[in-house]
Amino acid sequence: MSVVFNPIESYRDDFTFRNTSKAIKRFPFPFPEDQYMYSVNIEPALKGEAGSVFEHWFDIDEHYLSEVAERAKVLEKDPDRCLVMPHMECAAWDSLALLMTHLARDYPEWFELYQSGDQWVWVNHALNLRQAFTYGDSETLPCEPLEYITRQVQGDFAILDQRDNNLWMDAGMVTGPADWSIKFDAGMNFTQWHAPVPMAHKMGVFDRALKYLMNIQVDRPVRRLNWTMTVNPRLDTSSETYHEWGHERSLVTPDNVAQMVHLRVELQFLARLPRSHALMFSIRTYLIRLDELATQPEWACRLHRVLRELPDELADYKGLSQYRAMVVDWLKSYDPAERPCCAE
């Protein structure tokens, strides 16, 4: 089944981003239970159902053109959102190879790859690009290899070096983070960049997760879902643009809550890069407006219960405290009170 792209939508200013009913149906609703608490919710990334967001390693959907355009806008203002430390050059090429191979295999109607030794040709029909280059020689690409390929893919990418029994954020393309910054986290290890997360450290979540991630083997990727909420369909909620989006939390009212507030779900996917032994950590973000979500009443019911019961510390960390009560109130009508929800 071929993916059809929406005309370019915006993730800023006039916020024209919308989900079609098809996108709503495949939205990765992240709550298996009526309560939410941190856990090591990582699983082998086995191939999912056809058409689902889990079908391929790198999901391309109707928002492809819009996300690519948004990334270009962010990079125009702030080129340092893509960074590759000198020792990560091999991992950058590894990332390019992994992405091109999988995209060409999984979406042959949009992407093609021809390889003859180190002479490669990449064709992207969606963006009308054709690039012949020498694998391993950056001079033969219009820009650095990680930047070149991730400008043509949805989702953010952190490339983690594995050494000294830890993972280090030494490269990445991050233009749509949920309140963090690649520039701030650059060079940090797994323990350091998770330092701000409340509660989970005491639970031992990160120590266990780190062991598991360092053991990921070639062709055996893993995945997990993470979530937060965002006011307006804004992809770039990076720490350095806080002044542009932070105040929007105070614009939510009972009248506009269903149109302004979005559930933001990250499909996090981790794969071993075969040649460099680095780890690719891709963060594919899905946004859904509250009233879009409520077209699936069982989701609205479950979200109502999760948000109502969410510990304050967690709500504060996710930045929901200012408007959580309004969201809970709006969702109340979808909760048939005592019966457990049946959302999956």
Partner: protein, 315 residues
């Protein structure tokens, strides 16, 4: 676990020295998964008694995924692995291997890579050398062997890397002075050792004596042969006995017999499949349970009953 195995054909067997043989393993179609310097694979060897699992370093250039090459030394007291490889395995045979894993990768922050090999321990460094040379890294290789017996690849190495190669032939009474070598290295050097246990211990001792921090000392390790030994398990409440074979986890055996256990990571960290046991000795391999909890609980996705002990689960 079998789902991830790769079938390969032995396309070339080459005698390197009297006791060392090289095997080229080629895919049945297409190419093999990529790998990084220092990676190893596990071979499943169908000996007459049972399937033996043996890990070997990949010695080929990581840039080439058209085949893998490994080298095997015939061990005098072989329990069957190296003997099988030397006496039974020939060109045209088919084998199953695991995808590559790496517990011996070069450190990307090293300013200088100091490699110390003993005999057949040269193999992982052959894959290091290919990348180091391509990436213009700073390195040197010290290679100790017995001339004519364990001096694999020494002629090739002399030709390609003469300026960076230092050899020590025990037949000629040439000795590697580790203390001197390790007391004389630039700051930021990482040392890698592969070879007999006594060589590894000697390198660690000399490095410690010369105040090297442990994070700069690396030695080759292989991932354990997983899942492990076969064992028997009793399900107390279901009144059932199951055989768990060497090729499957306890969780997989339970699932195969129709017992549903909640699970997620299948790697001993998420805690979902925690199960209470009533009797038996357990080989705990998880990173989830506290030591206290391990006296009553186990994670069947990774942990196993000890061979010969009677494991009874509260299921």
């Amino acid at each position: 676990m079998m789902r991830s195995m790769i079938e390969v054909e032995v396309t070339k067997v080459k005698q390197i020295t009297d006791v060392i043989r090289e095997f080229t393993l080629s895919p049945m179609t297409g190419s093999l998964p990529g790998f990084s310097s220092g990676s190893h694979i596990q071979l499943h060897l169908p000996t007459s008694v049972r399937v033996l699992k043996k890990a070997y370093s990949l010695l080929s250039d990581p840039a080439d995924t058209s085949s893998y090459r490994i080298a095997v030394r015939l061990q005098e007291h072989s329990k069957g692995g190296s003997r099988f490889m030397h006496e039974r395995l020939s060109e045209g045979d088919h084998l199953h291997i695991t995808p590559p894993a790496n517990l011996f990768a070069p450190n990307s922050f090293a300013r200088h890579h100091l490699m110390i090999a003993g005999g057949i321990g040269i193999t992982p460094f052959l894959s290091y050398l290919a990348e180091f040379q391509r990436q213009s890294k700073s390195y040197e290789l010290h290679y100790a062997y017995r001339g004519g017996v364990t001096d694999a690849y020494v002629t090739d190495l002399r030709q390609a890397f003469s300026a960076k190669l230092h050899t020590y032939d025990s037949n000629l009474e040439q000795r590697l002075d580790l203390d001197q070598l390790l007391s004389n290295q630039p700051v930021g050097t990482h040392v890698y050792v592969c070879g007999p246990e006594r060589l590894r211990l000697a390198v660690q001792e000399a490095a410690t004596k010369n105040a090297w921090s442990p994070s700069r000392i690396h030695w080759e390790a292989f991932a354990g042969a997983e899942p492990g030994q076969a064992f028997q398990v009793e399900l107390a409440r279901l009144n059932k006995t199951l055989e768990v074979s060497a090729d499957e986890s306890l969780l997989e055996a339970l699932e195969a017999s129709g017992v549903e256990i909640p699970n997620l990571c299948r790697g001993g960290v998420c805690g979902q499949c925690v199960t209470t046991y009533l009797e038996g000795e357990v080989e705990h391999r998880d990173a989830f349970l506290s030591q206290a909890d391990q006296s009553q609980q186990l994670m069947p996705c990774v942990s196993r009953g000890r061979c010969g002990s009677r494991l009874v689960l509260d299921l």
